[in-house]
Structure formats: C-alpha cells, structure tokens
Symmetry: C2
Subunit: 205 residues, 2 copies
C-alpha cells in the first residue's frame, strides 16, 4: 500500500523530480543516469520516457520545481516584514533553511550553470537568479530611501554580495560535507553582510 507502482502521470513526474533532487544530494549530477533515477523510484528506466520527452526535460522540470519553491519560500519569509533590512535577513535565513532541507539543490543548480551553451534548464536557472537579484535590489533601494544604508553604497554589488554570501556558506558545506551546519552559521554570515551595507553600527548583536 505504501508504494503503489502505477501512478498518475502528474504524480509520477513529481516523484521523478524529487528523486533527482534527492540523488543530487549524494551523487554528482553530471554522472546521474536515467537508469539510476528510475531504480531509485522503484521503476524501470524505460518508464521514465513515458512521462518525459528526454533526459534534458527531467532536468528542466527539476529546475522549475526548485525555482518555484525557493522563490515562494523566500517571498513568504519576507512577506509582512515592514523593515527592508529585516526582510533581507528573513530571505537569507529562509534561503539557507531551504538548502539545508534539500541538500541536493546547490549541486543541481551549480551543475546547470556549468553549461556554457544555454539549455532550457540552464536558462531557467539564470532566470531564477535574475528574479532573485531584482527582488534583492528593490529591497535594497527601499532601505536606501529610508536612509538605512551607507552613503555611496553600490546597490548592485550589495545584491551580488548577498548571493555570494549564501554561496560562501554552500561552498563551505561542500568542503566540510556538512550541509546542515550552514543553518547555524547563517546568522553570523548575515550579520557580517548587514554591517557591510548599513549606515552605521547600531546596538550590539
């Protein structure tokens, strides 16, 4: 009962994407085969091609799955937070928490960014990062309007740094092979980031 072998197409596609993301958490994305994905799902390899036109389409679906969820998570975290810098912090922590819950995500997205010639999936990744940047920039601009940022702060660089900040934690987790540890390190990392952008040092953390 726990695992029906015949599933409706929508659900099978969902399971495929989840299996792929989960596998990326412990194997190199580039060496993942359709056979490996299928066997993880308890299904034969040929069955995948009833639901996806190609292997590339599976990657595309996975990236779309991630993009949708990460943006929703981050938006939900920032929603209702009036203070822009607090909203940035909420986004930061939500982003890191999402990664900790899905350790395969950084490897999967990084793997897609490795393609220099854009594919459908890599275009989605680039689009995700651009939307993310735009959201960061609008929050930074709002903070600037409120006089909370350093005079002469390069907002573009500040948005890049935000992403780099997450990326630094991810890189560290890959070296140490400890993904869950990034949640503990995240507050200190954002504290450092905030000191880099805001007008002057307020209270002690």
């Amino acid at each position: 009962m726990s695992q029906r072998q015949h599933l409706p197409a929508d659900e099978r596609r969902e399971r495929t994407v989840e299996a792929l993301i989960e596998l990326c958490g412990r194997e190199e994305p580039a060496t993942l085969t359709t056979g490996r994905i299928a066997s993880r799902m308890g299904v034969t390899q040929g069955a995948l091609f009833r639901h996806f036109a190609s292997k590339e389409a599976i990657w595309e679906a996975a990236v779309a799955w991630i993009a949708e969820r990460v943006m929703a998570r981050v938006a939900a975290a920032a929603e209702g937070v009036e203070e822009p810098l607090a909203a940035l912090e909420a986004m930061f922590l939500a982003h890191v928490a999402f990664i900790a819950e899905h350790p395969g995500v950084p490897r999967l997205l990084m793997g897609q960014l490795q393609h220099p010639h854009p594919t459908a999936a890599s275009r989605l990744v680039r689009g995700l990062l651009e939307r993310y940047r735009r959201r960061l920039l609008s929050l930074l601009e709002e903070a600037g309007r409120r006089g909370q940022l350093r005079a002469g702060l390069d907002l573009d660089a500040a948005a890049t740094q935000f992403i780099g900040c997450v990326q630094g934690l991810v890189l560290l987790s890959m070296i140490a092979d400890d993904v869950s540890g990034i949640v503990d390190r995240a507050p200190a990392a954002f504290e450092l980031y905030r000191h880099g952008i805001r007008a002057d040092a307020g209270g002690v953390a």
Copy 2:
C-alpha cells in the same frame, strides 16, 4: 615549426592541462572527453594515455596546476604589504584577476566540488580551499590584533565571506557570460566586504 607534434613528456603533460583548462572555459567540464582534449592539442586520443594513467589523473594534474598557481599569485600579491587589510584587498584583486585570465578555472574547480565521494582531484580542491582559508584567517587575526576589526567579529564567518565574495562575482559572470567584467566589479565588492569587517567607517572611498 610553430607546433611540433613530438614533445617531451613533461611538456606534453603541461599542454594537456592547459588544453583542459582552456576547454573548461567554453564547455561543460563533465562532458569533456579525452578525445576532445586530444583533438584540441592536435594529437590522437590514445596518445594521452602515454602520459596519464587515466582520465582522472588528467583532472588531478589540472587541479594541482591551478592550486599551485593561484596560491603563488595570491601570496605574491600580499607579500610586502604590511597592512593586513590592504593585504586582503591585494589577495582579493589578484584572485579575481587570475580568474579573469583563466575563465575555465571556476568551472573546473566547481566541477570537482560536485563529486560528493572524494577523488584525488577533489581532495586537492578541498585542500586548496582550506589552505586559502587558513591564510585568510591569519591575516584577519593580525588585523584584529591591531584593533582594525569590529568588536565581536566572527573571524571564521569573515573568512567564509571573503571566499563567498569572490564566488558571488564568479556566479554573476556565469549568468551574464562575461568573465572579464568581474575585474571591474571587484573593487566595489571588496569595499563592501571591508565595511563589513572593519572597526568603523574611515574616509570615503
């Protein structure tokens, strides 16, 4: 005359590594084949295996080549700079310049970090990053001793952030597909980083 086909083994290995790094600048590392590396060098595929025991050994040599050079570059840039924060800045700019000169390097190293099960090459990458971190930490500690850093600054997070800062620029260059642009963005990125760690705002940049 310009391209002899028979080369001594040392030189052929060097050329192989250079070809690999150059190819990583425009192709996905994971899909690079020995045939592709060989054809770029004007040599047949089988010839590579006279100089390398396996494909894995080629990757290992490439990572060693990069590790040696990037550490030397960064050390040379910081050498003789008495002020620790100035030394950090010199390292930062030297690092970014190195990447701009070798656009394949980030993709190659990131590709190696994708392997969750450590290989000889990925161990070298992790070792490189650890040595790098240690060097950063010692500079940060020296700056701290001189009272140049914020009270209560998390030095570990500061070292991570430094690497993340470079990584943010790299990520941006991958999205925009413009590697040389990171050199122009580097000073602003470091300026932001410095504001995050140092004791108080000095003069205007």
